[in-house]
Symmetry: C3
Subunit: 649 residues, 3 copies
Amino acid sequence: MTGLYFGGDYNPEQWTPDVWKDDVALMRRAGVNLATVGVFAWSSLEPEPGRYEFGWLDQVMDLLADGGVQVDLATPTASPPPWFSLRHPDALPVNADGVRLSHGSRDTYCACAPAYREAAVGIARALGERYAGHPALAMWHVHNEYGTVCHCDHAASSFRRWLRERYGNLGRLNEAWTTAFWSQGYSSWEEIRPPRATQYLVNPTQALDFRRFWSDELLAAYQEQKAILRGFTPDLPVTTNFVFGAWVPVDHARWAAEVDLVAIDHYPGDAGLGAEEQTAFAADLARWWAGGRPWLLMEQAAGSVNVETRLHTKEPGRMTRHSLAHVARGSKGALFFQWRASRGGAEMWHSALVPHSGPGTRRFREVVALGKMLPRLAETGAGAVRAEVAILWDVESWWAMQATHLPSAELDYLAAVQAAHRQVWAAGVGVDLPGPAADLTSYRLVVVPSLYLVPAEAAASIARYVEGGGHVLVTCFSGIVNEDAQVWPDGYPGAFAGLLGVQVEEFHPVAEVRLASGGQGRVWSEDVQLTGAEVIDRYAGGVLDGSPAVTRNAYGEGVAWYVSTQLDDEAYRTLLEQAMRAAGIELPGLPAGVELVRREANGTTWDFLLNHGDAEAVVPADGLDLLSGTEVRGQLVLPAGGQAVVRSD
Amino acid sequence: MTGLYFGGDYNPEQWTPDVWKDDVALMRRAGVNLATVGVFAWSSLEPEPGRYEFGWLDQVMDLLADGGVQVDLATPTASPPPWFSLRHPDALPVNADGVRLSHGSRDTYCACAPAYREAAVGIARALGERYAGHPALAMWHVHNEYGTVCHCDHAASSFRRWLRERYGNLGRLNEAWTTAFWSQGYSSWEEIRPPRATQYLVNPTQALDFRRFWSDELLAAYQEQKAILRGFTPDLPVTTNFVFGAWVPVDHARWAAEVDLVAIDHYPGDAGLGAEEQTAFAADLARWWAGGRPWLLMEQAAGSVNVETRLHTKEPGRMTRHSLAHVARGSKGALFFQWRASRGGAEMWHSALVPHSGPGTRRFREVVALGKMLPRLAETGAGAVRAEVAILWDVESWWAMQATHLPSAELDYLAAVQAAHRQVWAAGVGVDLPGPAADLTSYRLVVVPSLYLVPAEAAASIARYVEGGGHVLVTCFSGIVNEDAQVWPDGYPGAFAGLLGVQVEEFHPVAEVRLASGGQGRVWSEDVQLTGAEVIDRYAGGVLDGSPAVTRNAYGEGVAWYVSTQLDDEAYRTLLEQAMRAAGIELPGLPAGVELVRREANGTTWDFLLNHGDAEAVVPADGLDLLSGTEVRGQLVLPAGGQAVVRSD
Amino acid sequence: MTGLYFGGDYNPEQWTPDVWKDDVALMRRAGVNLATVGVFAWSSLEPEPGRYEFGWLDQVMDLLADGGVQVDLATPTASPPPWFSLRHPDALPVNADGVRLSHGSRDTYCACAPAYREAAVGIARALGERYAGHPALAMWHVHNEYGTVCHCDHAASSFRRWLRERYGNLGRLNEAWTTAFWSQGYSSWEEIRPPRATQYLVNPTQALDFRRFWSDELLAAYQEQKAILRGFTPDLPVTTNFVFGAWVPVDHARWAAEVDLVAIDHYPGDAGLGAEEQTAFAADLARWWAGGRPWLLMEQAAGSVNVETRLHTKEPGRMTRHSLAHVARGSKGALFFQWRASRGGAEMWHSALVPHSGPGTRRFREVVALGKMLPRLAETGAGAVRAEVAILWDVESWWAMQATHLPSAELDYLAAVQAAHRQVWAAGVGVDLPGPAADLTSYRLVVVPSLYLVPAEAAASIARYVEGGGHVLVTCFSGIVNEDAQVWPDGYPGAFAGLLGVQVEEFHPVAEVRLASGGQGRVWSEDVQLTGAEVIDRYAGGVLDGSPAVTRNAYGEGVAWYVSTQLDDEAYRTLLEQAMRAAGIELPGLPAGVELVRREANGTTWDFLLNHGDAEAVVPADGLDLLSGTEVRGQLVLPAGGQAVVRSD
């Protein structure tokens, strides 16, 4: 398909056939062209072991085909039916406390259990056989949101196998895990356990490796299904929907190579502008993972944002702007979970394209309007986002910083990266989120927020980039441990001390701390000794009064900034703008609340302009607004909550 | 007995025989006439399996009989002895995580375990045989505070049997539980489990049915004992003490028909006036359950209110006013847990009629005074409370709203009902708490607070009441789901949209929201579309600015108000007073802090007047104050903390 | 050794032999003379069952001997190796919920498991055989921080055996545990269980006895190892390091008699002056336990204080002052955990004498300076602290007050004792922390803070002390229960009512309450009736308005004060100073923030003066400052953060 996808998860098994016909009619009205079908339909497809009921799905596929809606057909392996769990209790997952979970929700399986893997492959094969060649079939959607872990004996055994492969011999594992501490030395592989409930602090490298292991184990499970489906339909894309969260042991940057189309689910968690920032961050991540290929927003919520204890209802226009923020960054469309709101079940309050109140609502009218908007943006697919800034993102630093006993429990890797992203996003500058080992030469400025874990090669690669004229801005608690989560020797920030021209003698975790510039630091401060850098800002008051807080070091042809605390938003934005300007980046100077994403190709630019604010905003622009179809000359007036996509040649 | 009961739980097994004699002497001094004996005496009565020791109880019963104290004799089945648990580990309860609990507290049994049921029946029979005909015996008290649940395999098996009876076939269960969602379709009954610990969100209808099941299962256990005791003493009342709380899976409104005397335990939980409001609410509930028959306050605390982390000591007079608040609403007396404070054990700090400091204390003097007061009120038993307002209470809505994933975790059914009750109580207007299917024709105003779950017939019955001229005031999140906890189709508030003349397009959960009238809404707001109703108040500010917040609809001969948010106390009181006046109710206009309960019969009225405030209060009154024995003419001066019961013919 | 120890835990198994040589050189530079070796080295010493690897330890011991560093050699039994747990899963500990913990941390053993006890004795014997006679060996360090509990069946069986010994027969146990309440009467020993997860409130005496049992069981485990080591080296001291905390079921006062040198670990938990108060308290406790013998600070942190969620870095000089505060109170030196900061493992962020940043740091310079300071203080070992005040400390009251259902959850025994200690400490007056049964005749004032549990003999002994002319100050919730945790009869404060000349009719737990004097009470108040005492302060406002809050009673030749609430610091300090003066104690009148500890012997005094404040302080002093080597005449100027030890003859 050359245009943009519009649609979402469609679960016809919850409805009667008469509703299916209404559904297809409404989909046509809304311009829906892709439906993800069957994600949780295992017990409907195979109600008893080996007895398949494809009739209803045949009917639905035919109806959709007739209605011009393509199908992203899912394997339903994220929720085995109750009959499976009854027959294979050893395939039910076990938590760290040893509690074997019960079925009756979803994701009640251990991906290491042989019976589960066999059954998963079985249902995938049955679907492949049945629907290969169906006119509606456009894509395969394996499983749902891989990320479920288990601590059972199957998992323990697979973990040991994985460790054997990683470390080769026990001596190397004992060294990497620092098992000499607390008498944890292993004398045989059989002694090793997952990080189950234990008496006191958990070994941090064991915990880190358990996440690494699960990422690989789940990837293997995905690949088994992919291989089978590929066998039936060599030309159709196969993918799975990535879910992002602190609990997810999946290295999406590595998985990206194994999916034909990077697909993400995104559910922001803030009632205010934070939702828009998170949306931009998620889309920038997906864009990086896709590596220049298109990607797809596979799931979002039509009507609400889950904010702590309540579902905040999306204000008029917000669903549209969220969708455009993804499309602007390369999403091949906007999909939603789910098409029609469930009447019962655990997610009956999850919002939907067709709400409980039906199609005669503001919500559905906005859906129809969005459906009309998207085809006008098909041409933007030709362009690419130009990113002058890179902010390093590394899932291993995230996992390593989830250790139970850091010097401060308030250290939060994701928050540190998002704080940097927030400032660059607000400044309207394009940003990539590469890993630490990526080629950085195309960027003017590379931000390295709290990159706690750094292998030697990655540190060297970043240093070479600066040596060759690059600019980096590194923030506190970076370069601290190697890939075994062991402190780099010779003082902090081990891997970056030379590059930054500083030595950090001691950490000083704090609640907050003042800076001479008037800014505020939070959570963290450091006793920074200069070994070549110059001072940009100093601590004011407290035990570090007068000592360096922010520094800058000339290194080779380039520049390396260091920020030894977590700056408040205003001070951080000021500093990052200073660093961007110093790196030669032009700042567009947007009104507050206005988001800009520029895509370009062969001299044509497409500016996505989204006004998230409560007030009308005026931005300079020239060209054709693809959404309104009107010419823009000199300036564009964006109403509160409005949007435009301006093409200029 | 025609007078009022006074006394409480008496646990002589904690004391030596010399104390028993003191006890009876002190009971006589205090006017105690009923003692609940043996509630937790199983291990004292049957110290080893089959070996009974009734001697001590014989002695105690004789002493009490001689002292003129009647006995409410308990079966001790709420706490099986350690020897039972050692012999029947499968009868120990299992929590949702699969932890089998240990004995050493109380309530360590699963009522589904055959061994437990058999043992319970056994000890009940032994007691019946022994004490039928004893002169002290006046009543049977089965068990204690039914409410213990279990997730073990016995419970699973009983749950499945109950489900088979409820649904008949699996197809109907799969439909009711919306098992098509998340692939939960059951293909055999054996696959069904209690809602044990699982991976993610629990099926809300499964959770609701588990509570319904436990209510029925515990009722069956009660009935088994009742049948046996009835066999021995066909003329003596048999009851059990109801406990009320979010954790209790008991539908007391249904159980009420199975007890000869509705009996409740009540322990309020607020240091301030909240304790008095809760007391009135509990007594109004019990009065409704009793359905015009007398009922009994079986347990309350003499000396303290458990407020979060501490026992707040009841101020002088407060125990008396709490007791009178129950008697005013039809309690056949005032009983307490317990007679004499324990020296040891888990509840040694539970207050008692005879405190640790003994009878020479203010506390015991107030007990003696209360004991003298109650006989003067015997005549009030002839009167009935006249309730012009009904506030609907439905335990199924409570249970359904305990689902883990509502649009707002702050939605609280009990709080919503109590908020309505608080305003009517403060206004001094009599109120009933019937279920949704009750006959409402006798009420001038029916309040329907957040009645989330409504079967079709109940909704129809409420509509008919209004059609015929009744007034209702419905509050937000009412009429949303049917008895399977599935959203009513065709938009919110499904079951009540026609009655109210509104359609709610979307919910807007919030922290708080302003109203045009100056009032404040909390937790919730709604996008209300008028389909016939007129606007009483509007939202001010926010995304719903200017749209309807409170409406009124003429329906048939009656009126239906709708409140789409949770009003603050002041705004709610103002609105409810407006609605009461509109419904033709006269408001007595009481001073703040003064509670009024009127009972009447054949032209005679008894006004219970309780001054909970810190200041003297003057109320209009004429007649005889039964407590002081003085005539009241025109007005009554109630000292701070004082009370009067004025009879007027 | 006649001088002071300096050094700490040294874990060479984490490092390569080349680092060992650097270590010894750095130890010499710092003046280190004692290293605790092998605490967690079991898996390094016995990597497979029965295969010992002593080579590396031989080498380390030789290197240390050559470097002049003595060794406190540890048995590594606090962390059995993984191979042990694999072979003996029944020796892994089980928590109250029945979760069997996994190895992979430390302390993953049940001390009641026969296999564990056998293995512990085995490794102790192997070490004794190997290193008895080694020139470096100076002391044995058994295990680490005894305190691990378990709820498994081994533990249950040992608990029953201990109960049989304590109570002799079941009747006595049933009485002591008040099992008549809630039908908990035991008819055979086999029915008794540890306090595992149960349905509702736990029996408080069962919980108390479980702690008493564990204290004795762990002591037996210690004694087994001690006996073996004693066999090899009859003349070397054997000890273990005491850890202090609410979770620790160890009666250190009783254990003290079984160690040759009382040794404590101390980690304060406050960023402010609270850390210094806690340090003084810990050292005063250790001093009392040691009973006039020297004792040893075995572990402290060189660089940080663990404050809730973060490691607060110790300011310059603070490590030194903490160390001197211990030495001042009789510690035979200052040891640390650990020598060199780990590169990995669960405690890689624990501070160390040699930090990650190496020896070229402020931290290590302060270590070197402290190493030079200590030898100058060797002579102070001759002196003893003179304590005119005793504050009673009783671990059984602490345990009993950890019951789940006191009248207020805010009652905190440790906080009550520390509040008293804080005032006396701030006043610069020496204080002992004896148990309730101690001989009190040498004290001018005895403070009895919230001594909830008091056996009859202890109460009588305190009364005799006052009768003979002693002064006591008792605070609220004292004298309430006996050793079975059963309320003393005849009203509160049962055990002390006669002594204090008051009767407490009722408790009034509160948030806070005002006093007539202007002070503030917190958490607690009481309805105090005078039976001989005079009133010192009254409650102001609230239900107790005007009734006695603080009283004083003449009793025999002495005086007994009673404080029926928890006074705020200022009011408490004022009252305690009044009581100290009345008892004939002279108050030194120190500047705020200055700590004074006086040791004396034969007419010589050594005044340890520590200025914890931010400002210079001037104190009167005459003599020789041992630290600076200068003469002090009339007054001493202490810089902010400074210290002096002034000898005067």
